[in-house]
């Protein structure tokens, strides 16, 4: 059976069985998105690389919990990566606060800004075109939910809107993106 015809369940099962080809296939498929997620959320190339490593180890350790009937492998892996990135951000915030509390205020130096993010040109332009089709509210709701893992209720509170409106904005944004980006693939 050709490797590229494997179902996601078969691929994960092979990965669980320590199949190197399966590991390489998963890396090729997910490393760019996980690395990019790390760059966006963590703003740092070194930490984005760490995120890729941590994600693949965690995916292997949790592989037996993947159930293709509950959702796609893509979303499952991306949510694992996002969860790790959020934990890292929270740890970083905590370390910053602890450090600030310990330091003499006079010695505090201004924090360095995020590194320049590398973007591939066509991916970025497609993302911009797709996102331009969203309203400001839809874009904000999706970014809060996706990049920060906020629930609809938390998005509603942060945006000052009803929960139902938050849910609708997130849903509409995802459906519009799916439709717009799929059209982009067909052109």
């Amino acid at each position: 059976m050709r490797r590229d015809d494997r179902s996601d369940s078969d691929l994960v099962r092979a990965f669980m069985a320590r199949d190197e080809i399966a590991a390489e296939e998963l890396y090729a498929r997910f490393a760019p998105r996980v690395f990019g997620l790390g760059m966006v959320m963590l703003g740092n190339g070194a930490q984005a690389e760490d995120l890729v490593q941590d994600t693949f180890v965690k995916v292997w350790r949790k592989a037996d919990s993947f159930d293709s009937t509950r959702g796609s492998l893509d979303t499952w892996v991306l949510l694992v990566a996002r969860s790790l990135a959020i934990d890292l951000i929270r740890r970083r915030v905590l370390e910053t606060r602890v450090l600030a509390a310990q330091e003499d205020p006079g010695d505090v130096s201004p924090g360095a800004g995020p590194e320049e993010q590398a973007e591939t040109r066509d991916m970025a332009s497609r993302a911009r075109r797709a996102m331009a089709g969203l309203s400001a509210g839809q874009r904000a709701a999706l970014e809060l939910a996706y990049f920060q893992g906020k629930t609809s209720a938390e998005v509603a509170e942060l945006e000052g809107i009803p929960v139902g409106t938050a849910k609708t904005r997130i849903r509409t944004a995802l459906v519009k993106l799916r439709d717009a980006l799929e059209v982009g693939h067909e052109l």
């Binding site: 490393a31 690395f35 690389e49 693949f56 292997w60 995802l174």
Partner: protein
């Protein structure tokens, strides 16, 4: 939960921000509602496409080697899953017994009596040893042996596997074994190919403690057939699997 309630939850469900209790309730509804499953799949695809377009970046070329090295270390140090010997013993014992029965009941011109006698003796001695019956398969001049491990596809708990033997001497066969605890009755079994052709095996009878087996012997070439599906008669698919090289 109603469809309206579930669809209101789907954005959070898709983005993984529901509690486990809420997510379980949504999953329960989705299992029985194709309309809501389609909506869930749409949102899931939206997330995938958004991720691919919004934040896919080529990582540094040397990152792959680093990740593969770390995984290799993990694989060496992580404990291997324990083999549940009771089930594997049952599996191989049943398989060896089936092969002995087949060898005794079929006439294969390519097999010399000497080889068949040696096989019977070997099988009796090492019924729990997969390698011994693989020797038997090679003695027959088998072209390929493929293994299918079933994946549960519904709420019905299913465990089992199938072996597909592709012969180059005109006698191929398929052996299917399954355990369905708490179920007594028949399962329909089919073998299908990627281009949509299907072969139906004799029904698999589940009795007693939930074990059952069925097999197919054929002069047809089954090398193109790779997926085995178990279904409750006139009911849903409960398990399926696609052959991989052992």
């Amino acid at each position: 939960m109603s469809c309206e309630e579930v669809r209101a939850q789907l954005p959070d469900y898709t983005l993984g921000t529901l509690s486990e209790t809420e997510a379980a309730a949504v999953r329960r509804h989705l299992r029985a509602c194709s309309g809501c499953r389609l909506e869930a799949r749409t949102l899931d695809e939206g997330v995938t496409m958004f991720a691919g377009a919004a934040h896919a970046m080529d990582p540094p070329p040397d990152l792959k080697a680093r990740v593969m090295r770390v995984l290799a270390e993990e694989w060496v140090e992580a404990p291997r899953p324990r083999v549940r010997r009771t089930r594997s013993l049952l599996r191989w014992t049943a398989l060896a017994a089936a092969i002995v029965a087949l060898a005794g009941s079929l006439t294969w011109g390519a097999i010399e009596q000497r080889d068949a006698d040696r096989f019977r003796a070997d099988s009796a001695r090492s019924a729990s040893d997969a390698a011994s019956y693989r020797l038997f398969l090679h003695a027959l001049g088998g072209r390929d042996v493929r293994v299918v491990t079933f994946v549960q596809r519904s709420d019905v708990v299913v465990d089992g596997s199938a072996v597909l033997y592709d012969s180059d001497r005109g006698q191929s066969w398929v052996l299917v074994m399954a355990r369905v605890p708490g179920y007594i009755g028949q399962l329909t079994v089919s073998l299908s190919s990627a281009n949509g052709h299907a072969i139906s095996l004799q029904p698999l009878h589940i009795e007693g403690e939930g074990d059952g087996a069925t097999w197919l012997v054929t002069s047809s070439d089954i090398s193109a057939f790779q997926t085995v599906t178990l279904r409750i008669p006139d009911g849903p698919v409960i398990a399926s699997g696609t052959a991989i090289e052992p």
